[in-house]
Amino acid sequence: MSQFHEAFFEESFEGLEIMESELLELDVGEGDVEIINTIFRAAHSIKGGAGTFGFMNVSEFTHVMETLLDEMRDGSREVTQFAVDSLLLSVDVLRTMLEAARDKTDVDEEMVAMRYAVLDGILKNEEGSVSATEVAAEPEVVSSDQPASDGMSRWKIEFAPHADLLMTGNDPVRMFRALSEMGELAVSVDLDKLQPLAELTPEDLYLAWEMTLTGKVTEADISEVFEWVEDECDLTITSLTSETVSATPAPAPELLASIAEDTASNIEPASTAAPVSAVAGNAPANTKTKATKKPVEAASIRVGIDKVDELINLVGELVITQSMLDQAGEDLEANAEASSNYDSEASKANAEILLRLSKGLAQLERNTRELQESVMRIRMLPISFVFSRMPRLVHDLSSKLTKKIELVVSGEETELDKTVMEKIGDPMVHLVRNALDHGIETPDVRLAAGKGETGTLTLNAFHQGGNIVIEIKDDGAGINKAKVLAKAVEKGVVSPGDDLSDDEINNLIFAPGFSTAEVVSDVSGRGVGMDVVKTSILSLGGSVSVKSEEGKGSTFTIRLPLTLAILDGQLVTVGNESYVIPLITIIESLQVDRKYINQVAGKAEVYKLREHYIPIIRAREVFGLPTEKRDLHESLMVVVEVDGTPAGIIVDGLEGQQQVVIKSLETNYRKVETMSGATILGDGTVALIWDVNGMVNVHKRKLSNNKIRA
């Protein structure tokens, strides 16, 4: 049984996400039935799964939620803000319960009990108001569905479930129970199809029923009971009260289908596939349901990330082998040309073979490259995985901060690497919190400033070059430049006389220990925020910047590489080794001219690059290798950018540029300050990839060490 646990947990967490996002969609008051249905179905599957796998606490807890949702669904309970919030918090509790069950840890019973009590309270306390809404709702329904006599009506229900009904997890007994609660129910069973015991498949259902129901019920009430099984049965509901016989099996199927389409286009298809198709098939078409279900099932499979990584590793090896063969082929060709003068007969034959070989090699190269690209694409996921966390955050924060905020999300289908995705979540949450807390103003301030009461937070993602760009934009107060500048001077980040452009001032907020919020709230503003955001984005090989206009709002722009697995690099040599410098950090490479070199304090060397002086860093010194020559004239210098400031690194040789597959150095060794990783070159040898930031740090340390000694 335990082998199914993983699937259960994954599905349950998906279910929780659906519940969460749909709860946020749910409007207080009317309560879109379709949304409630979606939430209900997700809760129902979790409950069922939890029951099957013996997580009784989960199943009991979900049951209360389900009951509440059920009442909302049939209109007997109003959708209040309190109930929605309670349900959202219950989703959180359910998530911790499931996590505890998965990790086999203990769950905080007190928290669960408290939440349970709140839900239970909602169910019990409001019993009075329930009947009130019921009464209020009824006349409407009755008037539209049926000309009522005295409210009492008789219905004949013919219910012939398909043989596989039980396989879908539905139990007719429950439906009968629901019907019997509506009024007086008489049931007779049809045993015609029942097979002899020897031929009977225990999981199939051979029975059919005919019922008469008398009570204050409408046709809609009855068909709602069968809503879950409409596709799995033949259902006829006939009114016995008047002569008007209505045979519509489902209420307004077109309408439901169109709603279903709406939801389908709004939400990620894979996770909502089952519920959507169930509704779409509301029309009496069993085959249609099957047809819509199947392609969705085949559309995605769950694969462990380790398997994908192994595949990527192997393809990486294949690329290396391919380039080795390619090199060998070229050498062979060169040899053949050199020796072709001697033996014309044999060389002609050889030339033909060589031609075939080089054709094959060219094809191999193309195929490997395509293979590598497709394999890399497996790791790519739409950024909606990160964006989907935001509506909840905005919902919670806006009520906490008593602000009115509308969240606009676009570009959610933009894809990026799973690893990048996992690491960008927290910085993004921080930026969103920041925008809500410091950016967007309270409604009265907004009105006073002549803006709309509701602030807008826009999340946008798109591809640009080899990068993904994520924008977090608010129409709030913008950054107070005077305040930022004053603070920066106070903290010693800049000196009072510095002449800074607006953008430079705005980007000061990323400096360590910076927070301009006057009041430190628990939402943000502890002064540890923005520099952490920047550091984590930099560690992903990306960058972050801000543009802001006072009174109009701010836009944070994050740029990230699409994948952490591949890097465009410049090959250089230092000593006997080849190294890779990430191309993104390089501004230019040049040959040093003696007349631009200057000494500072007898130790540090600087280079005059056009208008700027940049520090000279000798790679050999950083690596502790003997320096071959003191005079740097005509040496090769790679100008790199670290944290916005350029530095010139002296290398022994410049080689080609190459796309390399990044391998971890840390897995089997440890972190090396000057290196961010390693890669395998075409000849199978390892080359280390520079961490330019670390290089600069080591250089600085060596300089200060020298100073101490001197």
């Binding site: 590793n313 192997l314 990486g316 090896e317 006997n576 080794e577 950083v622 690596f623 502790g624 290798l625 391998k663 971890s664 150095l665 897995t667 089997n668 060794y669 440890r670 090396v672 300050e673 000057t674 290196m675 390693a678 395998i680 199978g684 040898t685 390892v686 080359a687 280390l688 080591v698 340390r701 060596k702 200060s704 060490n705």
Partner: protein, 177 residues
């Protein structure tokens, strides 16, 4: 002499509880490591050096797509180093980290591979305290086989990079202070 990951069943069964050890030579001394930790044995091949690494870390190699660091055991023990030759081999080991959670793959350079011995728990004696001459935490014990002494190594401690980390930390502090 290529891959030889031993079968776990063979070793753990049997009431007298024998462990199998692969031994190798450093000069005249014979050292043993738990054979279950040996992933493969390969000839010495050139490595890529790591800047600022301690002398006993020779560098890294490409082991079928994985970057594996190579440690010279002579230098680790402070025994006089010798020129690498055709017999020089790299024993690739699976080493557990300090907290026992992660597994690292590392290679050790030794003079030559010797034998595989069965050594029972009783035969494995505690090594005498040799003071500062030898770091005791590298040793699991000693055993006598055919009148020869075999030093059984605790590879997790031996291959631990903690002392490099510590050294680097103190170096940084010295620079900053």
């Amino acid at each position: 002499m290529s891959t030889s990951p031993a079968n776990e069943d063979i070793v753990t069964s049997g009431s007298s509880h024998q462990d199998q050890y692969l031994t190798f030579l450093l000069g005249d001394e014979e050292y043993g490591v738990d054979i279950l930790r040996v992933q493969e044995i390969r000839g010495w091949d050139s490595v890529t050096t790591i800047p600022n690494a301690p002398p006993f870390i020779k560098g890294v190699i490409n082991l079928r797509g994985t970057i594996v660091s190579i440690l010279d055991l002579r230098e680790r023990f402070g025994i006089q180093s010798v020129e690498y030759n055709d017999l020089t081999v790299v024993v690739v080991l699976r080493v557990k980290s300090e907290d026992g959670e992660k597994e690292r793959i590392m290679g050790v350079v030794v003079d030559a591979v010797s034998e595989v011995y069965h050594i029972t728990k009783n035969e494995l004696k505690d090594a005498p305290d040799l003071g500062y001459a030898v770091n005791m935490s590298y040793m699991k014990g000693m055993a006598t086989i055919d009148d020869k002494m075999v030093i059984v190594l605790d590879i997790d401690h031996l291959m631990s990079l903690k002392d490099i980390d510590d050294a680097e930390e103190s170096g940084k502090e010295a620079a900053e202070g």
